[in-house]
Subunit: 558 residues, 2 copies
């Protein structure tokens, strides 16, 4: 069998459509403060049987209609999820767990046991409601429900913590450490479940699969870790960067994936363990990690998550009672389990419940778990849809609830206050005072403050020391009484605005902040400096001829 | 049809084996001063019918044996080559051509016309020798041979120029500009050839395919270029970096590829044109380009090039007469064509022939061209093997011959002079003079110079100004009479070596250079500074406990 030109056309077209729509909706979700995966899943739902499939013939225009093309697409999404789990593994830092000690272990333990028990009880007491059919492996089904409740989603949790500037705090590290333990244990249990049901193709007995799974995990985390830690400097020493190390890490992931697939559990488990082991090496460079993570997170992962929507009709299989029930037990188990664990370690009340909500996010991991269970016919479409809904709902609520519990403002960035209304592409002024007056005029219109008092305050600050910094940038600023929040205006001048005897600015950014808020001014000035440290950003921003180009350059620095 | 666990295991295993062996032999080739693609192709030949295939059953242990697995692997290599051509397109800078003006256009014209004419004549006069069979499309065959002689390989040429430090010279830019023109014209002609023979599956008449091909190329380079140039800042402004722009560029490549596949020419043509158009936008950031290039060049491309070896038996189909003939006409046409063109523009003789040899490298492009012709049954295996051999031979000779013609030394890098013999993991000394004496001892053993005179010369230099620079590094150095070439020793001290009152060095690098050669000292000191600017490199090198870790960290900065 060979791929025909028709198959290849459909394969490429569907990859393009999946990638573009997943990224577009993923970005939209992020603009709304939600995790990108929400948009990526929705893109797939729109393109799948749920929406596009209802228009006769529409799906055939995009997706492969012949078996060969379908298999090729399926092969690609399989590779994509393997690489996604490699990246998820790379994010795990085993050493983080050890450093956090007792609190992290307690939280991960209670946060695992309670949801596990609740999931187990639910699957045992009401199997029919959850869609269990006689003739299936009941033990595997019960264990699956328990694991599905106990697992958490490292990538989503890390992202939420970063958004709230909590990632490098003690609390953030406790959450990360606990999530790592839960993820690793969860995947091992799930691998064992797959071993129990999935040996049809391999002919390996259950016992052997379980022993091999545990053996593989233990061997990789001991001997494998030692070997990788020796191999990475060797690869660096004997090959060119980044070609050598990229090839090494990816090949290792493929081998690990092939091995676990061979012993009767899924390929992603091997890739995840390889990621954990490789990511743990102190010799692995940040730059290498970044190349892999960026390409995988923004090319492979969106295609994979969108492809999930192609498999199931999310409307026909949506059962609101089941979804509500799954959400309820998932939240109860995880929030109580983690929250009580944190409380028992003596953490403050609000912080403890914030930890509970942080760990409650299920994100990508739950969806992948559910998808595999669906593919192995362990669960039906209704329960799968309910799990996806639960994963998305728990991820969505995590950030906002934590923010409220901790009364934690999001960190302020200069880009959030830019607007085309306060952007002057060509300043008329060519010296400091006139330029400041011009920008004050614009900010007066948006803030309602008198232009004269803005000019006066900014020039007073400027008199203390020029705000023109190297590389043709100036950032005149002042704190203004009666201002409800920060206000920023940008003016550009191709000829340059004279600031001192020896400094001219091409870009003049005026920053006004409320008088009573000291922190926000420092935060914005620091963010400004950080943004313009990027060479590409500076180069493109300095040449920008309009607002779109300017903000485009600024955004890429984030 | 679905992928079974067996298929997925084989798919992942074969990707791992292809990637690892291709990267390993690719690195080996680079260590020997040859292009990586040489090693990548050889890896495939070893794994294919040529070698591994002769051991009964061996290939079945690695590669998919079932149709579904084979199609999935085929689908992946198709996607890989599409992405490789996207990257090749991204390297094309249309603006370079315009800037180089007359010389570049003359060289590209003469360097295209002469090989084209020779290839055309050969295919016309001796079709049987080249493996042409009656019943095939003779016009397409003749045009193919002509194009195959006329095309050049941008990536290989760029790499060779960079190795010789010629990339940013006038001559380098003339070569690049001429190669760009030849590549673009070559691919368009080839696309037309594919249109002539490949419409079997699409039912599109030849004329329509040709018109659509040209129309697509022209539309993309005019309207498409304008639209992309507007879209890139928009994407930057409205999405997060690099997720937004990566998704946009890759999706565009998939769409372009699907379109050209649909109109009856190959998918790679569309990806190449998309690459050219996107790469031309001044708004595209270097960092974005790098993420795509690194992942594609070191993951997708090696897998693709190795997979070529799986298709053909390179020993059974090797015809030395045919290969010698193809090499002869390829070299004659290209070297004479480009060389004479450069001479006619008044360039010096040695430089003109160097340009001829630079352009003669066929590398990846010829191999892809040949592979497509083979798949479309336009040529037979014998001619395909001869073309691959020609591509590799012309690429191999290019660098060494240019180096000899231009008497151009390769640029000196500190890493080339490091050795475990001159590496001291723990210096006994904790102050300057003693540390210098310790390193002088080591260098005395390898250079034969007396240790005392090395110490004296280095300390004399040190007395002028301390060579201890920020970040715990010191680089004492001296020029020594009687030294045949540079010599470098490295000593590390966890406690630090006191250099001045306020500076201690963790790493002490001693550099000795010949007295009469002024340039090499500067070159090595500059390279040292450049290497240690990388944050990761510095961090890991400072913590290195042995030679392997140290050199590993240094190498990653190159």
């Amino acid at each position: 069998m060979n791929l025909t030109a028709h198959d290849i056309t459909a394969l490429l077209l569907s990859l393009g459509v999946l990638l573009l729509s997943a990224r577009a909706l993923g970005e939209l979700a992020r603009r709304l403060g939600q995790p990108a995966i929400l948009g990526e899943i929705i893109a797939g739902i729109l393109l799948g049987p749920t929406v596009l499939g209802r228009i006769p013939g529409a799906a055939d225009l995009i997706f492969p209609t012949q078996p060969a093309g379908q298999v090729a697409l399926q092969g690609f999404t399989n590779i994509a999820v393997v690489l996604f789990l490699l990246v998820a593994g790379l994010e795990v830092h085993l050493s983080t767990i050890l450093r956090q000690g007792r609190t992290a272990l307690t939280v991960s333990f209670t946060g695992m046991i309670l949801p596990f028990a609740i999931g187990l009880a639910a699957a045992w007491l009401m199997p029919a409601f959850l869609g269990f059919h006689h003739g299936q492996n009941q033990l595997a089904f019960i264990l699956f429900m328990a694991t599905a409740m106990a697992i958490s989603a490292l990538p989503v949790i890390a992202k939420t913590l970063m958004d709230l500037d909590l990632y490098r705090t003690d609390m953030g590290m406790v959450v990360m450490a606990a999530a790592i333990v839960q993820d690793v244990v969860g995947w091992i249990v799930f691998a064992i479940i797959l071993g129990m049901i999935g040996q049809a193709g391999t002919g390996t007995p259950v016992g052997v699969t379980i022993v091999m799974t545990l053996g593989f995990a233990v061997a990789m985390c001991t001997v494998g870790r030692w070997a990788v830690n020796r191999a990475v400097p060797w690869v660096h020493a004997h090959t060119s960067w980044p070609g050598g190390i990229l090839g090494f890490v990816l090949a290792l992931a493929f081998f690990g994936a092939a091995f676990t697939e061979r012993i009767g559990i899924h390929a992603i488990f091997g890739a995840f363990i390889v990621g954990v082991v490789v990511g743990d090496s102190p010799h692995l460079q940040e730059r290498t990690r970044r190349v892999i993570e960026q390409f995988v997170s923004f090319v492979f992962a969106p295609i994979f998550f969108a492809s999930i929507g192609l498999k199931v009709d999310f409307v026909a299989n949506f059962d609101w009672k089941l979804s509500a029930f799954v959400i309820a037990i998932a939240c109860a188990g995880k929030i109580l389990g983690c929250g009580l664990g944190a409380l028992s370690c003596g953490l403050p009340k609000r912080e403890s419940w914030a930890i509970g909500f942080a760990m409650n996010a299920r994100g990508a991991m739950e969806i992948i778990l559910g998808l595999l269970a669906l593919e192995y016919k362990l669960i039906d479409e209704r329960l799968f849809v309910a799990l996806v809904v639960m994963a998305l709902v728990t991820s969505l609520m995590s950030g906002p609830v934590m923010q409220r519990l901790l009364r934690r403002p999001k960190s302020k960035r200069i880009v959030d206050f830019l607007s085309s209304k306060t952007f002057i592409p060509r300043l008329r002024a060519n010296e400091r005072s006139a330029a400041i007056a011009e920008l004050a005029q614009v900010l007066s219109a948006t803030t309602g403050l008198p232009a004269a008092s803005i000019t006066e305050a900014v020039i007073a600050r400027e008199a203390m020391m020029s705000t023109c910094i190297g590389d043709s940038l100036a950032i005149p600023h002042a704190r203004m009484p009666g201002l409800p929040g920060p206000a920023v205006a940008v003016g550009m001048s191709a000829e340059g605005v004279r600031f001192d005897d020896d400094a001219t600015a091409t870009i003049v950014v005026m920053v006004l902040t409320p008088e009573e808020d000291d922190g926000v001014q420092l935060e914005l000035l620091a963010d400004f400096a950080r943004v313009f440290r990027h060479e590409d950003t500076r180069r493109i921003a300095l040449k920008a001829t309009g607002y779109l180009e300017f903000i485009g350059a600024i955004r890429t620095a984030h």
